[in-house]
Amino acid sequence: MEKRLIKKDALAGIAKKMAEKLHVWAPVKKEDNVLFAPLKKDNEPFFAYLNSKNAPKNVFFPHTETMMKYTRTPNGMVFSSEENKADEAVLFGVRPCDAHSFVLLDKLFDQEKYKDSYYISKRQNTTVISLACVKPPYSSCFCTSVDGEPVSADGADILLTDIGSDYLVEFITSKGEKLASYFGETKADTVAETKKNEIAVKAKDAIKSKIPAHEIKPILDKNFDNPFWNTIHGKCLACGTCTYMCPTCHCFDISDEVKGSDGVRIRSWDSCMFPLFTKETSGHNPRSSQKERWRQRTMHKFKYYVDMFNAIACVGCGRCVMSCPVNIDIRKIVEDISKL
């Protein structure tokens, strides 16, 4: 597909111009955090960021989402569906690891057996514009160990790569091409492409943190009861930081909030780290302690997801590594498992 060049300082202007017509999500600086937020008149996009504090999964899979509403009337219950109300949107400037997470989430929310209309409607109406990492944002980044690359179009409709003086704009899908008019007229030549390929190789080499993520699946297959699982969770606080920051964690809870005769059914993020997670009505919890919860988190990412979808449910963004209040490092866990 077509490739173009834009001047580097033009990026914010393009995002803002898009925001006039479309619902644009972009990295925005809020105090000390960079977060993906709707671009409005009163905020500026911030593209000089390493990576956003939390993953942009909330664009497709919000923390809290109304599934339906209901009202009790003298003639019985009246239900109203809330799905398929997504506006046309653009997710502007996500890092390739996060774009990769959308491909992984699609496997679950948009599969043959089960189609999650809430997720799909937002996903289909959103164009993803990736901003390649020309240098690794953090020394704890390990995308290359989990099928990712710092300069990758995986999961993106448009890929932007900083090639020095300009951004190379690559339209990856026809959905991306529909936004071509925003990106000027300058066609990219082969020189720009060669430059980009060189940058991509360099960026890949610069990822120094590596984990044997692909080696541990057969080990996990056989080691559900290994005493190793006693060694991770001791210091775990059982907070939900790792799962809430994670681009691929997708467990949710469904609850009804009722006020008088009106009720709202919402789904909201849940976390396998919470004591309430998988607690049954009887009071019994098959995952009774943090040990079982940590085994679940590790197994889900590196075994169950591979069993189900032939893909590791981790993109190597390192958010859980950096955000964990007590420094439980998934890289070390994977490393340790590989030695079992």
Partner: protein, 336 residues
């Protein structure tokens, strides 16, 4: 601090060898630059892992409570004559001992169930503050040396003064040395600057109700309800937190601002006379919510009205846990 580390390891090793304790909760080096992380040592040879420096952030009293509770639960179905006692050793600085005192005053466990290895403290580095100090760059490597924090970052080498990145609670700490201990490692650390303890609060009190409410709602908007603050807090030990009760359900589980505010307000009120300003909730918060402003306000009120500083001595009982029929002023009930 190296001398203290050596002594700490020796003492820890001795305690385990002599079976004075079953486990020692301390700190070890973290996997990220400029971090230390809680660890549990049960073998004398593993005491080499122990560190004590300005990166040791978490209040370990939380784990003392956790381990004792777990142990007691595991002993529930054991015959009285077969019941085993477990003694937890803990590396404790001033604020950690304050939390232990609160646990003891609230009768969570007996004094003989915890062995306190006291260490002097001159404060820890504010993990989020140091990232701000280097302009949000990635810290690749770092070390603390002679009052300087030296770092290799993605934007080149940077050095900041230790005192500039000291956590706010440490800066104005009143009790940086252990209040109670079974053994004390090293000599007491020099005093911090407690006179400035309530400066932020006084400024906050000077604002109008609207401004204070605006600040509260702005901070609460950042909260993602991961509950890291509650989980890290040694004083938050309810077996089931009210936000997790479902019959009745006290708060919604969604992102509604009022639900988040109710959670945080309830937690704040439960901290009356129980917050030791250890800074754990602030250091673990992934979103940088300024919880300390509100906690310090409660702490100040508690001191001014009841003369109590949480966990500052075994005798000074928490105001909500004592009844004094001769001195309690109850006028406010009749004359609001």
């Amino acid at each position: 601090m190296e001398n203290i580390e050596t002594k700490l390891r020796e003492e820890a090793s001795r305690l385990l060898l002599e079976k004075k304790v079953d486990v020692i909760i301390g700190y070890e080096k973290g996997t990220l630059p400029l971090t230390a992380t809680p660890c549990f040592i049960t073998k004398p040879e593993d005491t080499e892992k122990l560190v004590w420096n300005n990166l040791c952030t978490q209040n370990l009293a939380k784990y003392v409570h956790d381990l004792i509770t777990q142990h007691k639960n595991s002993q529930k179905r054991v015959k009285p004559e077969d019941k085993k006692k477990k003694i937890i050793g803990v590396v404790a600085r001033g604020c950690t001992t304050r939390s232990l005192i609160i646990h003891l005053q609230e009768r969570q466990y007996g004094r003989d169930e915890v062995y306190i290895i006291g260490v002097p403290c001159d404060g820890y580095i504010d993990g989020k503050g140091i990232k701000v100090a280097v302009g949000g760059a990635d810290i690749v490597e770092g070390s603390i040396d002679g009052g300087q924090v030296k770092m290799q970052t993605s934007d080149g080498d940077k050095t900041v003064a230790f005192r500039d990145v000291l956590a706010d609670n440490c800066r104005t700490c009143r009790f940086n040395n252990p209040i109670i201990s079974d053994v004390m490692i090293g000599s007491p650390a020099p005093a911090m600057n407690p006179d400035a303890e309530y400066e932020d609060v006084k400024e906050f009190e000077g604002k109008s109700t609207e401004e204070r409410w605006a600040y509260f709602t702005k901070e609460m908007d950042k909260c993602i309800r991961c509950y890291a603050c509650r989980q890290a807090c040694p004083s938050c030990y309810c077996p089931t937190c009210f936000v997790e009760q479902s019959q009745p359900q006290w708060v919604g589980i969604g992102e509604d601002p009022s639900d988040t505010q109710v959670f945080q307000l309830m937690r704040l009120y439960h901290m009356v006379g129980r917050c030791v300003d250890c800074g754990s909730c602030i250091s673990v918060c992934p979103m940088g919510v300024d919880l300390r402003k509100f906690l310090k306000k409660i702490d100040k009120d508690c001191f001014e009205f009841f003369g109590n500083r949480a966990g500052s001595s075994m005798e000074d009982m928490p105001p909500l846990g004592k009844y004094d029929e001769h001195h309690d002023k109850q006028d406010f009930i009749f004359n609001p």
